[in-house]
Symmetry: C2
């Protein structure tokens, strides 16, 4: 079951909450979930022990919060990038670029999402299954997607491309927007003929 | 730097070596690398403490050994499945099926390879960069691959498809060869028009 969190109710509380979030991100990025303790997070955030437990019941609760936040931010980046587009092909291109630009800015997102496989395998499965289902619903809305391919498989193919072309970019030192545009256009060449009418 | 291992020189030694390998696989699968100690492995393998150090200098050395073994077994499965094939399209189809059939049999392979991101990020980068380079060399050998797409990007696209369609199958309970054939054929529909001439 998903561990919940409690939102801050005051400005001061919000400041503490954000300090905990920031410390959690930094420590999970550096040492990973298993090697980070609640005490490490409390020390790094520079808050009182009791303050942590106002917002989170456990280390797992903070991890769940961060996972949800990344998921929402990735969706939000895609929504903003694709909001005025009307063909699925244009949406895929803009969404792929937005995703890769986001992971350049927040490389911890990858680590955190994939680490769920080692924190709680169910989280990992839920994360991608949910993403797949909403992908399928979105693909169905447009007339330019081939109708003779199983859309569940297509959703995993598209997630695979985004994640691995994202890795290709992260593996380069100091990749910039031009590098991202290049791999996005190369990927779209394949999808243009392979996925779209 | 990569931690090395020492091969067993006798039949008895080989038996101990294999017991350590088996225990390492089971424990890394169950608890992950960070939560497994050398003592856990020694106890599970039922060997003397000194015996472990005949073959491996550290826990990391065993992890490296297992990572190399999976990499080699994945390549071997692909080699066997594709050995008499002459077009790259047929090779991709057979290779994709062989990869997914392998990960159904050995789901730890995924966990172990992706856990490298949390054991030593360089291992993870090396693993996929090496795979990408050999993929590019192989793609260049065949006349049926489109010439207007960057092959490095193609290599990450193909690794992404294999890994994520593999997840799609692993997420189903009790997926069988028929399920694998289905997702492979759906993936090939996209690649047929998108990647091949």
């Amino acid at each position: 079951m998903k561990e919940t969190f409690r939102r801050a109710k005051t400005k001061v509380g919000e400041k503490s909450f954000n300090k905990i979030i920031k410390a959690g991100k930094q420590l999970f990025a550096k040492s990973g979930y298993h090697s980070t303790s609640i005490n490490d997070i409390i020390a790094k955030a520079n808050v009182a022990v009791g303050t942590y437990y106002i917002y989170f019941n456990s280390k797992l609760a903070l991890y769940h919060y961060l996972l949800d936040e990344y998921q929402e931010k990735i969706r939000q980046a895609a929504r903003i990038a694709t909001k005025d587009l009307t063909s699925r092909k244009d949406i895929e291109r803009a969404g792929l670029k937005a995703f890769i630009m986001y992971v350049i800015k927040e490389p911890l997102a990858y680590k955190l999402i994939w680490e769920s496989l080692f924190v709680d395998q169910k989280l990992f499965i839920d994360y991608y299954s949910t993403f797949s289902k909403s992908y399928v619903q979105n693909l169905q809305k447009y007339g330019d997607v081939r109708e003779d391919i199983d859309l569940e498989t297509v959703s995993y193919i598209l997630m695979g491309i985004a994640n691995f072309v994202g890795l290709q970019i992260l593996f380069k030192n100091k990749a910039n927007e031009k590098d991202v545009d290049f791999v996005v256009e190369e990927s779209m060449k394949l999808l243009d003929k392979g996925l779209f009418k």
